[in-house]
């Protein structure tokens, strides 16, 4: 059991990281399309806007 502990912990860490990464990538994909849409229709489309908060 003691010998297997590092492997179990490494597996848990890897799974946790994988989960966080997958959700992050998923949110990236949805975020990107909305970002692209904003670039021509949002407040930033007004001439001269530096950025939005």
């Amino acid at each position: 059991m003691r010998k297997a502990l590092p492997l179990v912990l490494a597996g848990v860490v890897a799974l946790a990281l994988g989960l966080i990464g997958s959700v992050a990538v998923a949110s990236t994909l949805t975020g990107s399309s909305s970002e692209a849409a904003k670039s021509v229709t949002g407040t930033d489309a007004a001439p001269g806007v530096y950025g939005t908060r």
Partner: protein, 521 residues
């Protein structure tokens, strides 16, 4: 041999992963990042007399570099240098004898939300300071250890950091805190500190001599305050080294509701590694801790109770303190300390019998997993574009008969259809070899942050009248007017240019010269 090459190779891999789109030809034009084919060596770029010296001596150095290399190449060299220096510098600074923890620190420091956000907002001068910081600290530590040759390192990396006022100030405070003031010979610390202080002289002198108002609009404090990206608010975003004011330069992965758990994981690892840092290099731990703490507090000042009011008073009354209004940029020592402690935390965790290699490899990949959308130039957001041919034609025409140029629409930033809808600082002042009048107010959403150029105010008043512009603009010494096609406006914004002669009419730029009776449009 393998160990010696591993760090630079990993740094190279990170650089390629982040800057991959720059293999394509053209220029990356993103917010403050403007490179042009050949930036002229012009007095108002080197020594601005009407605005605050925010890009002193940065613009002068870019202009000088244009005498030996084209702008597209300079841009690639600078951006690659930032990532390579940051990664290798952090890896070398880590007090460990093992390779993997060094690689963890290298990847961690070159893959932070801070770097991503400042890269997207185009503040590459500030990022040179970010990349220099571990090298500067390393040189200062060697001075503490009695190595006099490290003075060259302090001055060299101090110079690299001081290409912008903020970077210069951070470098100066860093050496003041890290230098061995009590060690002999006493002159050594004095020479290092004095040298880095002198490296700040260009922007200090330019600031003293400029005709611009050194005080800033207090509205800028709220506009440029750290911004929360998830349920943990601005403090949570800052703890993860993010929190830039501009939502448009925040990567989508930072806005995920799970991002705070990633930050928490990093903080837990860093907390676990803090003890190793204190044991192995107590002087670095204490001094970098002070720097990081001060930087974090200043970054958060505008969102802390009472901080906004105090900061607003400061920037409105004390010249030069406007540098504090975008406080998140002062987070760089915190980012470095966090990364070093995370790497040592992973090393310590591995030594506890939990499997050194899996833990360290996990920690190595952690920054990439938490911020996957920095890869590929933030998923293509750093894709280069080519300037429309109109720019070269207009620049050549103005070159033949130089005179003051007015750039319209009258705004500091442009969103061009040919730049994939990305916002960028008007490139005209750097493209043409003539002084160009642009609006120096900053629009953040619906908020307008006042500028300091008095001539820009006169142009705004002239534009507000709707009457013919020839007379008031001639009074300001304007000879040329360039009207640019931008997103969100009519094909070309309507301006009363009666009394101007149309000299060049292209799809993206129109050039008018004052002094003709022809009514253009």
């Amino acid at each position: 041999m393998r160990d010696r090459l591993a760090l630079p190779l990993v740094a190279l891999a990170v650089t390629l992963a982040v800057l991959a789109p720059l293999a394509a030809p053209g220029y990356v034009l993103s917010y403050d990042m403007v490179f042009v084919p050949r930036q002229p060596l012009r007095a108002d770029l080197i020594w601005p007399t009407a605005t605050l010296p925010r890009a002193v001596p940065l613009d002068a150095l870019v202009s000088l570099s244009a005498t030996v290399a084209p702008g597209w190449l300079v841009q690639r060299i600078v951006l690659a240098a930032i990532l390579l220096l940051a990664a290798i510098g952090a890896g070398r600074l880590l007090p460990t004898g093992r390779l993997l923890p060094r690689l963890v620190a290298a990847v961690g420091y070159a893959w932070t939300p801070y770097l991503a956000e400042r890269l997207l907002i185009g503040q590459w001068g500030l990022l040179l300071a970010y990349a220099s910081l571990p090298w500067l600290i390393s040189a200062a530590l060697r001075l503490r250890d009695g190595d006099r040759r490290a003075l060259r390192g302090v001055l060299g990396f101090g110079a690299l950091a001081a290409v912008t006022p903020t970077g210069g100030l951070i470098a100066l405070v860093t050496v003041l805190i890290l230098l061995p003031w009590r060690a002999r010979p006493r002159w050594l610390a004095g020479a290092a500190a004095g040298g880095v202080a002198l490296l700040n002289a260009p922007w200090v002198i330019a600031g003293l001599l400029t005709g611009a108002d050194g005080r800033s609009d207090p509205a800028g404090v709220a506009a440029f305050a750290a911004r929360g990206t998830d349920w943990t608010g601005p403090l949570g975003a800052l703890a993860g080294t993010g929190g830039i004011w501009n939502a448009r330069t925040t990567l989508p992965s930072r806005e995920s509701s799970l991002a705070p758990f990633g930050t928490l994981l990093l903080l837990a690892l860093a907390g676990y590694g803090w003890r190793l840092l204190r044991e192995r290099r107590p002087d670095l731990a204490t001094r970098l801790g002070i720097l990081a703490g001060a930087g974090f507090v200043l970054s958060a000042l505008a969102v802390l109770p009472g901080g906004t009011g105090g900061l607003e008073w400061l920037v409105a009354h004390v010249p030069g303190t406007g540098v504090l209004r975008d406080g998140q940029k002062l987070l760089m020592p915190y980012a470095l300390l966090l990364v070093l402690c995370v790497a040592l935390g992973a090393e310590r965790l591995g030594d506890r019998g939990l499997g050194r290699r899996p833990i360290l490899i996990g920690a190595l990949l952690l920054p990439v997993v938490l911020l996957p959308d920095l890869a590929g130039g933030a998923f293509g957001r750093l894709r280069p574009v080519s300037y429309p041919a109109d720019f070269a034609a207009v620049a050549a025409r103005i070159d033949r008969e130089p005179g003051l140029v007015l750039s319209l629409p009258f705004a500091a930033y442009r969103t061009y259809p040919w730049n994939a809808g990305r916002t960028v600082l008007d490139p005209l002042p750097r493209y043409v070899d003539a002084e160009v009048l642009v609006d120096d107010r900053l629009r953040v959403g619906d908020l307008v942050v006042r500028g300091e150029d008095r001539r820009a105010g006169a142009v705004r008043r002239a534009l507000a009248t709707d009457g013919p512009l020839a007379e008031p603009l001639a009074g300001l010494g304007v000879r040329w007017v360039v009207v640019q096609r931008v997103v969100g406006a009519a094909a070309f914004p309507a301006v009363n240019l009666t009394g101007f002669r149309l000299v060049h009419s292209g799809a993206d730029l129109q050039l008018f010269e004052i002094g003709s009776s022809q009514s253009s449009y």
